[in-house]
């Protein structure tokens, strides 16, 4: 019981503050409630299948297979796969983090995990189509062309910055889950 309480402590604090503010400003409370419901619907739509897919991946795909395709020695194949999987994804960026954690557990190279996150955040195919429709092909394609090398370079810089020791610790933590 105590564990549950601790886990939801922040949520309770935020809720109490919001309700308090809403007592003085009803419009504010109404708007927050409306937007939150909207986002919640999106989340409840996208998040459960992602977690189910992750569960399946965890159970069915062995670490050996996964690291053969995307591990340290996987070279260009791993990079391309990371971009492809990230681009085919659905949902907001926070959906990518649990996927990344399972990738770590499965021995995917750190660089490829970062590339995957970058692709998820910027080069999602369904979003790209939507971007073309809203902002025009010139805008969308230019952004895509800058972003693809960008996420690869950012992944390389991050790998250097963080260092082997910390990467090792992150992998250990993910494996313990």
């Amino acid at each position: 019981m105590n564990g549950v309480l601790k886990k939801y402590r922040n949520l309770v604090i935020v809720l109490v503050v919001l309700i308090g503010v809403s007592l003085f400003n009803l419009e504010f409370g109404k708007s927050v409630a409306r937007i939150t419901t909207m986002q919640l619907k999106e989340m409840l739509f996208v998040i459960p299948p992602i977690f189910i897919l992750l569960g399946l991946l965890d159970v069915w795909v062995s670490k050996e297979t996964m690291s053969r395709y995307m591990g340290e020695g996987s070279g260009l194949k791993g990079v391309l796969l990371a971009i492809l999987i990230g681009s085919a994804a659905a949902g907001p960026l926070y959906g990518a983090f649990p996927v990344a954690a399972v990738f770590m557990k499965k021995g995917v190279a750190f660089r490829n995990i970062l590339i995957f996150i970058g692709a998820w955040s910027t080069t999602k195919i369904p979003m790209l189509l939507f971007e073309i429709a809203s902002l025009g092909p010139r805008f969308a394609i230019t952004r895509l062309l800058v972003d693809i090398p960008g996420i690869i370079i950012i992944a390389a810089i991050l790998t250097r910055l963080v260092g082997k020791d910390e990467i090792g610790r992150l992998y250990e933590k993910a494996s313990a889950q």
Binding site: T36, P48, L54, I117, L135, R138, T142, G150
Partner: protein, 160 residues
């Protein structure tokens, strides 16, 4: 898009179930455990987003990032994009509307880029998976990179 996601997940789940019931059960248990682990943080984030979007409307955003707001406008647009978390299907039409309303391409590009790559409100979630250092570095690098994106898109759009 959601239909594909659901259909795909259902198909794989059924295949998995036919092949091995015990393994499928284990997969579902794992799915629930990891979802339940992160759920409280997700909910906090979603509430904060509700607050942010309530405080900032498109009129206010437009005042900050007009076409002649220059690099300061780009910086502010990048900051707004970094702290807000708007789903793409809302963000792109909003951006198009802001462009028509007089926002500049560079500013909009910075806004879209940080919106997608940088997540200040989702930082706690990111930290819980990746640790503080990596999460902070990633967001900082993505933030800086967005200025390059803004510059290139501003340049390309000005060619026409």
């Amino acid at each position: 898009m959601n239909t594909i996601l659901y259909a795909g997940t259902a198909l794989l789940l059924i295949l998995s179930f036919i092949k091995d019931k015990a393994k499928t059960k284990k997969a579902l248990k794992k799915a629930w455990k990891s979802l339940e682990n992160i759920l409280p943080q997700f909910l906090v984030v979603i509430l904060l987003v509700g607050v942010l979007l309530t405080v900032m409307d498109s009129e206010m955003i437009l005042r900050i990032i007009g076409a002649d707001s220059g690099w300061l406008g780009v910086l502010l647009a990048a900051v707004v994009g970094a702290i807000t978390l708007i789903p793409g299907f809302v963000a792109f039409p909003t951006a198009a509307m802001l462009l028509q309303g007089g926002a500049g391409y560079m500013q909009i590009a910075a806004f879209i880029s940080t919106l997608m790559m940088v997540g200040v409100v989702t930082l706690p979630v990111e930290i819980s998976y990746f640790g503080k250092r990596l999460a902070v570095y990633r967001n900082l690098l993505a933030f800086g990179f967005s200025f390059l994106v803004a510059y290139v898109i501003g340049y390309v759009e000005a060619l026409v």
